[in-house]
């Protein structure tokens, strides 16, 4: 028996969160949830792994710091040492305090820009991309759960109505794609 997909609409994020908990309890599979704004606690309710983006931000910051150190060492010490205000720049250690602002700012620059780029890449977002919302209402005030229908469609519909669903749409799954 081929399974269908269900698009279940909710009109409130609290009701949505409760519904997701109940759906998870019954072990039905949720493909994706579309919401008009970030819903707090949704990732936990769906059992998504915590994001590792802050670890990446730290690594990117370290890369920025290294680039700043190498850059300042090349520019100010190796390539073109100068005598500024009676303080000749022949040694990196002695001139390091003057480079601290550059190191800090390059750290922030790399961490911020690369983190945002990573976020867009992981979210598969880029300029002029067409939106993938199955229902345009999810950009306004409605919350949509895209889930598998299970074996008994009618039983499922009754169960979802009980959780507070506003409407349930059955999407015929095109098996020829597989």
């Amino acid at each position: 028996m081929s399974k269908n997909n269900l698009h279940v609409l909710f009109d409130d994020d609290d009701i949505l969160l409760n519904a997701i908990k109940k759906i998870k309890e019954k072990k039905y599979h949720i493909n994706e949830v579309y919401t008009p704004f970030p819903v707090h606690g949704l990732d936990k309710a769906l059992g998504l792994k915590p994001t590792r983006i802050s670890i990446l931000a730290f690594i990117y910051g370290c890369i920025g710091f290294t680039v700043a150190v190498l850059m300042m060492n090349y520019i100010m010490i190796d390539d073109w040492p100068q005598n500024i205000g009676g303080k000749p720049s022949f040694s990196f250690i002695e001139n390091m305090p003057a480079f601290v602002p550059i190191m800090f700012e390059m750290t922030v620059f790399f961490a911020a820009h690369l983190m945002v780029l990573t976020f867009y890449m992981r979210s598969k977002l880029w300029p002029f991309k067409k939106a993938e919302n199955p229902n345009i209402l999810t950009t306004d005030n409605m919350f949509l759960i895209d889930m598998e229908s299970g074996d008994n469609l009618n039983k499922m519909k009754v169960f979802l109505k009980k959780t507070g669903a506003v409407s349930i749409e059955v999407i015929e799954r095109d098996d020829s794609e597989k």
Partner: protein, 244 residues
């Protein structure tokens, strides 16, 4: 994930604000020019940046809110709270001005004493006077609730503060440089055609970027407003449930 990104960006940007303005002020403070060689510069510049930043945002915000009809999102309360911040940071900047004068006298360094006496009473007294009036005195009217909740007063004060902060930079740079250790270097500042051109050009370039941004992106992050409306709408929901 987007919440995490915003959080880390905020954590990176906050120390960046402090560092940028501190370092800009060090560019002055590490020199040996009387009037620039001051340890109070870093906190003074950070307070000045918040002060002028809020005033600039207030100017643009009041216009944008009217033009884009955002009155229900940017409320009078937002404007009032921004006015209070302008008043507080204006007073901090005022404290810094007075501390500078006190330290110049207290240091016993005659060059410092002359620089500050000349700053306030010399040929550029009018710049110092406008700086003091616009930056320190004018935001004090925000103590009155009736005035700080008035759009017209907020708009006028924000413009006045912007002009006052321009005078602050003028006072710091021009009055410190127009007198020197050698009498042959004493001079008065007269802007060249290029000086004025860069000044007007910078305003034009800022407005170009601002208006391009306002034209091509949503002026308000709608998803964020929705989540805030939701949480502040909790009370309404409780009320509704109790009547069912």
């Amino acid at each position: 994930m987007s919440i995490e990104v915003s959080l880390v960006l905020a954590g990176l940007a906050t120390p960046l604000v402090l560092s940028v303005h501190t370092i800009v002020s060090y560019d002055f403070a590490t020199s040996v020019i009387p009037g620039w060689h001051t340890t109070i510069f870093p906190p003074y510049f950070v307070a000045g940046a918040i002060f002028s930043g809020f005033a600039m945002v207030q100017t643009l915000l009041i216009i944008m809110r009217k033009v884009s009809r955002l009155e229900s999102y940017i409320t009078l309360q937002h404007i009032e709270l921004m006015n209070i911040i302008i008043m507080i940071t204006g007073s901090i900047v005022g404290c810094a001005y007075i501390t500078e004068l006190f330290i110049a006298w207290y240091s016993g360094v005659e060059y410092e004493q002359y620089a500050f006496l000349n700053r306030a009473t010399g040929p550029y007294w009018w710049a110092y006077f406008f700086m003091m009036t616009f930056n320190v005195v004018s935001p004090q009217i925000m103590w009155f609730k009736k005035l700080r909740t008035s759009l017209i007063v907020s708009f006028i004060i924000s413009i006045v503060v912007n002009i006052g902060m321009w005078f602050e930079r003028f006072v710091i740079i021009v009055t410190s440089l127009h007198r020197d250790f050698l009498p042959s270097s004493l001079t008065m500042f007269s802007p060249t055609f290029i000086d004025i051109g860069i000044f007007i050009g910078s305003i034009g370039f800022f407005l170009l970027l601002f208006l391009l941004y306002a034209r091509s992106f949503p002026v308000i992050a709608q998803a964020e407003v929705k989540s805030i409306l939701k949480s502040s709408g909790e009370n309404y929901k409780k009320l509704r449930d109790s009547h069912e």
